[in-house]
Symmetry: D3
Subunit: 135 residues, 6 copies
Amino acid sequence: MLYLTRKEHFNAAHMLRNTSWSEEKNVEIFGKCANKNWHGHNYNLFVTVKGNPNPDTGFIMNVKELSDIIQKNVLDKIDHKNLNLDVDFMKDILPSTENLAKAIWQQLEPHIKECKLHCVKLWETENIYAEYYGE
Amino acid sequence: MLYLTRKEHFNAAHMLRNTSWSEEKNVEIFGKCANKNWHGHNYNLFVTVKGNPNPDTGFIMNVKELSDIIQKNVLDKIDHKNLNLDVDFMKDILPSTENLAKAIWQQLEPHIKECKLHCVKLWETENIYAEYYGE
Amino acid sequence: MLYLTRKEHFNAAHMLRNTSWSEEKNVEIFGKCANKNWHGHNYNLFVTVKGNPNPDTGFIMNVKELSDIIQKNVLDKIDHKNLNLDVDFMKDILPSTENLAKAIWQQLEPHIKECKLHCVKLWETENIYAEYYGE
Amino acid sequence: MLYLTRKEHFNAAHMLRNTSWSEEKNVEIFGKCANKNWHGHNYNLFVTVKGNPNPDTGFIMNVKELSDIIQKNVLDKIDHKNLNLDVDFMKDILPSTENLAKAIWQQLEPHIKECKLHCVKLWETENIYAEYYGE
Amino acid sequence: MLYLTRKEHFNAAHMLRNTSWSEEKNVEIFGKCANKNWHGHNYNLFVTVKGNPNPDTGFIMNVKELSDIIQKNVLDKIDHKNLNLDVDFMKDILPSTENLAKAIWQQLEPHIKECKLHCVKLWETENIYAEYYGE
Amino acid sequence: MLYLTRKEHFNAAHMLRNTSWSEEKNVEIFGKCANKNWHGHNYNLFVTVKGNPNPDTGFIMNVKELSDIIQKNVLDKIDHKNLNLDVDFMKDILPSTENLAKAIWQQLEPHIKECKLHCVKLWETENIYAEYYGE
């Protein structure tokens, strides 16, 4: 069993805000992230798959194909977008780093066929990241 | 003459859009950056001052004081904000990396008194940065 | 189950020296790290917690709260300090990267209450890090 | 149980090419990596061992000794070399990142005696890495 | 006057070898870089242009256009190539970092029209880079 | 004219303290850096030379030779040392980043003979660096 990881990146705007809460409570819990006029991030996304290398190629899966799957199913929907407003797969989901990592997993998992998706790791800033392993 | 640099970082939302242009022209020139629902970045800011070290301290200026000046005059106004809507010193200025670097210089320059501001270097992504030297 | 990681950093002095050994043996085993006049490092600390996101916030735990716990229980005691002389929780412990990572875990674990501490990862230089998972 | 990781780096040339395939199929599958005149990379190698710290040293193993083992058994054979032509332990193996990570594990494992080899992680570019855990 | 920088990257194989010298002298001067079977690198390329921002766009030049110029005139000719054998603009030039940086400048300079090329900075490894400013 | 830069690194302990001042004033000006029991850093050192490439080698100077000069004249004296106590060329000099950068220049400059020393850039942490250009 080997593990292969591809890094991608995207930029997006978001806000953290629970619409059932008062303004005061939103600011208390989410701080500056509750700004109604949005803020944003450069996200770094690491997608790891696992499996046995194909003897003809030496590849668990072709990293170009992995990159294309991420591009089509995640980056095309999320890059230079507003996570609260523009992204179908984030509808009604609070765009925390944790929730976004899990949602990206769910976008990718059905398309990884010749091996298995192992981990989605998402850096929101240089100091914060979330990881999801599918369970 | 020595040069001293302090790195700071902030997150912000913005869009690139010339309001005197059609939607088509905005998309043609600014591409995904013209998204009306905003996108955002983690900005890394490097501020360089120059001067001669004070013999009593070995410092051109106290880097803690430099950091405080950046915090008060730039980060408090810009971190977790919308560059088009929330920032007084960016009013009526297109928030390109170049324009933002120059505007940050103008915020900082009057407050650097014991030595001279030399350079504002602003990374918008890992692949793009702008620099301004005051002229 | 999701995993959330917060990066912090601190600077410290230390030496590696077994006081029951001769000077010769200390130099043989610890090399330059045995210098009696100390040396030091910029440490990067990655603290990972695991749990299920709270549906009201999208957070496993509030990363601001995690940062405050690290600040109060680790950084305030260790940043700009001498690991052999100044740090109560390192008393009588050889300040290797491994031992320091484990000691930091023990400082943090009692304070992580709404989810679980998963990993303490400590970089001593760009080329060396230790990890501890609590067992 | 603690984990200790040492980073090393090396440069090498290689090509990805299945000699039983036509030129067309090689280009279809391996793309630019099939260039007959070679290309190359700066590889970053992270080797992780696990064990309990020795009470006399605080070390799982002496990181200097770990570095020497990597130097002698891997870097001396592979640094500034051609992975397809020059490296005995890559003979008849397609030099994909996955296969190279596994082969490096096999070079190192017999020499890690006072603790256990846990992981070989190999970055081929800033965007791609493979990991092998020995099974 | 503002400065704008775009980072790109490419991979290539090369050798350092003066064909008018003996094998012994080549090894003496170029060390492991003289390996006849080639070695290679991941190069990071930073291209800086300077000028005044266009008031309609806030741009010195459109960074997408800068990236396209680098892609067409440099990366398409050099990425995943052998610098000694495959690259027309390196014919009869020793592919040192210095010479390669200067040659890349000469490829780019005629195509930067709305502002001026200021600097080509080329990282060969994490520890070595060359810069050329056109004179 | 081309510029060539070599990165090196070292670790050291130091304190910032003006012995002609009271304890109170030292703490007021130097903060945590005045800790009498020392603290320390991982320093990254970038040394830049300038000149014309030798047509026989493509080198301004052999980067291996540059690295050897830095090793012998700086790193051997400073790595894993105490900057206040152990380093002859820092005797009676406050070990601020600025002063250390200038002192390293003075150690290196007499030994760069086939081209010219252009810049010493010294990172004390990921957020602070000083530069000296010789005047």
